[in-house]
Symmetry: C2
């Protein structure tokens, strides 16, 4: 069989399959006019649901790579125009809105897992700051390499931002600038656990964090999450039983993916537990800026005493755009030094002009102004999504309006398969991430969707909810009529 | 003792020490007016040469952090102006010309290990392309994340650039865009060796490559280098004896640090050896653009048959500026997939607008034009450096005019300690990297300097050679008078 499935675990299977097919076309092994295998045949040979193969074919058909001819089958398009090849037409992350890049798929929509809207970021300010940084004497004279901890101006700007906004009393020496929070997580794991030791993580939780920990040699073990966030008692049991458990990773502000905020009692218990068992706390505070109701809850790291090992991880990507890759970690010197030394080995240093440009945007207040503006817009989108969901589904689904953040956690009737619904929605052009994406074990997958609302305007959100309704599975109806 | 030495292995000890002292000042543990320990006392307590402590104190004195009061000692300066703190005044890489950033040290000079001159890069073009990329529909709509292999436009641009310029017949599917070549080396090691297996490297060679391999879990073993480059017969012996040897890393175009080009016969032998023992070849072609005499020698990867595992690594940082971090790797799909998957775990993806901007600069010819201009300028600087060295030192040193690249390898009389000379030069304000920086074992350190000439204009090169002459050790005189 010519078509193989690439093994990337983090994205929907139909996207992987579509990528594999596209690769064959790009390499010329599938030529214009060639017939693709029937969906039934391909599904069988790849051990997939036929729906999945259908979804991949439809995605590529919408993008113009394939042509479906009723009752004859699916073929590689004859007129593959060069301009289509010149842009990345197959989304490689589930959240990527190929829809809006490629005019042939204008009707399809992607519900991200919670990404900001790149359209509202301060483009002109960033472009200007970047130009200024490229022309600055410090850059022109930088014949050598920079500090693996990042540009000092940016570390200072972040330190004062974090002190003012988040109660983290910190200095530039406690800050490591990374590419995005992904790298900060990888480095954190390498600094606080030895290969083979264990990091406890929220489940459901954030799979890319798990991937980063595993890449650092750690083992990952799940701890359940409920309406108060991480189940700290469960973690306590684990810590007693597992001497190799050395760290816990969590997203206390708005738990990923369920959006709940870790309760105050649990925070105190967690600190106590960490102290008793010598656990390091890796706190991923990826969307601290986005709190709509009340004040943001201060980070755990802001309350941890000096005897605890905390690595506080944040990101400017959630504030600006996912393609602007600046994250950071705050930790005490012994940990930060290990992280910086590993960072130098894997990546030497960051992009100087980009780091300098972002330092300028923090220092001159642009970033704070943008955060205020984004907060207003995203709150309105959250409210609109909630209205639409209530209007469309009533009691058939449930959710708690998130107090902040960029996504909503939509719980389905337990009799409904979120995964099957998502596949059906995808085939109809709507990408949405079901609970199975967020668990270590598919058997524990909650029947739920994580729906990012920040990156879509209100009209698109309405269209998305409509699509979701149209692709509702028969089981939903059953469940409702019980 | 308040002052501790930070452990960073890659840079001169006096720089580490200066950084440690600065950290104490920044933290407020050393206050304006405080006396520093005497150099003899501190040297003893830290087990350093007194010269090293002297050099650190002098560096900080030149930068205005410390004040030396004759016969009283050294003190933290009283008037530490805030503006000095606002820029990174202590160079954290030996090559960083703090001299030109900080006006108080205008008299000091840094000879890099071979970095380009950021002043001549096409700033305006890059700034424009970046602004364009930030406003492009593809970026505005990028609510999600991108391909961990890098922006498709950049992968296509690099593939066609490498095909045209370097005879690597390659497509976008064979290219992985990384942050800089550092990340490409780390990912390459992870893809071609298992933890605990061995990678053979040139010695003298490139220590940051070794650091990246070790970070990936590999062991590193040195292979000598002579006037023809890597000693392939020595490697053959190793390969026969060491079953865990799985890869060889080399810089065949201009060997780092000695600048010699690997001979044609050795290239063929190496390919044969790699085939026989199943060795992967990691080829670091960091300065392919810079060949002054004759045509560039084509990469080994361009001649390797499909049955060999090669990872070809390159960088745009050497073409533009060290602070612009774009590198890439070319490998066959099985290897590239492993690298991309690891990249996603440690760093998710690159900066979209920067990648798009560089794609544009390749596509519209800006990068090629810049390479031609830079080649002319750097060749003139190489020639000027060679003249100055000959004029100043005559037979006391020797070098082979490098056929290309950004640095010259200056061999000293074996009776002269390059390290001691470098420390003395540093104390007088001239940074230069002695052979000990490039060996796995200090006992094998060649008495030589690697002198980057590209980042300094001709007047500065002359000044640097003058400084070098003024700090010549007595041993040099001895050696010459023998």
């Amino acid at each position: 069989m010519l078509i193989e499935l690439s093994e990337d675990g983090g994205r929907p299977i139909f996207i992987n399959l579509a990528s594999s097919i596209l690769r064959e076309i790009e390499r010329g092994r599938l030529k214009p006019g060639d017939a693709l295998p029937g969906t039934r045949v391909l599904a069988k040979s790849l051990k997939l649901h036929r729906n999945t193969v259908d979804a991949a074919y439809q995605e590529l058909t919408m993008q113009g790579w394939l042509v479906a001819e009723p009752s004859r089958g699916t073929f590689v398009a004859h007129d593959l125009p060069e301009f289509k090849r010149a842009s990345d037409t197959v989304p490689v992350r589930p959240q990527q809105p190929a829809a809006e890049i490629n005019t042939t798929t204008r009707s399809s929509l992607h519900l991200s897992d919670g990404t900001p809207d790149a359209r509202i970021m301060p483009h002109a300010d960033l472009a200007r700051a970047f130009r200024r940084a490229l022309g600055a004497p410090a850059f022109l004279a930088s014949a050598g390499y920079g500090d693996p901890r990042g540009n000092l101006a940016l570390r200072r700007a972040l330190a004062s931002y974090l002190t003012d906004e988040r109660g983290l009393v910190t200095s530039s020496n406690d800050v490591l600038v990374t590419r995005g929070s992904q790298m900060a997580l990888f480095l954190a794991a390498g600094a606080v656990v030895e290969p083979g030791q264990m990091i406890a993580v929220e489940e459901p939780g954030y799979p890319l964090a798990w991937a980063s920990f595993r890449a650092a040699g750690a083992r990952v073990i799940g701890v359940p999450v409920d309406a108060q966030g991480l189940d700290v008692d469960h973690l306590a049991g684990l810590a007693r039983r597992e001497p190799s458990l050395k760290a816990v990773y969590l997203t206390p502000h708005h738990q990923y993916p369920t959006t709940v905020t870790l309760g105050a009692g649990r925070r105190l218990k967690l600190l106590e537990l960490a102290r008793r068992h010598g656990l390091a706390i890796i706190e991923d505070d990826y969307d601290q800026e986005y709190r709509f109701e009340g004040r943001p809850v201060l980070p755990i790291a802001a309350r941890a005493e000096a005897d605890l090992s905390t690595v506080y991880v944040g990101s400017l990507s959630k504030l600006l755009a996912p393609g602007i890759r600046i994250g950071y970690a705050v930790a005490k010197p012994a940990i930060l030094r290990r992280m910086a030394s590993q960072r130098e080995a894997i990546d030497r240093q960051g992009d100087l002009p980009l780091e300098q440009a972002l330092a300028d945007l923090i220092d001159d207040g642009t970033l704070r102004r943008h955060a205020r503006k984004a907060r207003r817009i995203y709150q309105a989108r959250r409210d609109r999504l909630a209205e639409e969901l209530t209007r469309e589904f009533g009691q058939a689904v449930s959710f708690t309006l998130p107090a902040g953040g960029l996504a909503l956690w939509l719980r389905l009737d337990p009799a409904v398969s979120a995964e099957a619904w998502a596949e059906r929605a995808a085939a109809a052009g709507l990408m949405v991430m079901p609970g199975v994406h967020f668990t270590l074990d598919a058997a524990r997958a909650p029947e739920a969707f994580r729906i990012g609302y920040a990156s879509l305007d209100e009209a698109s959100l309405r269209r998305a909810v409509d699509q979701l309704a149209r692709t509702r599975m028969p089981a939903t109806t059953q469940a409702r009529s019980r």
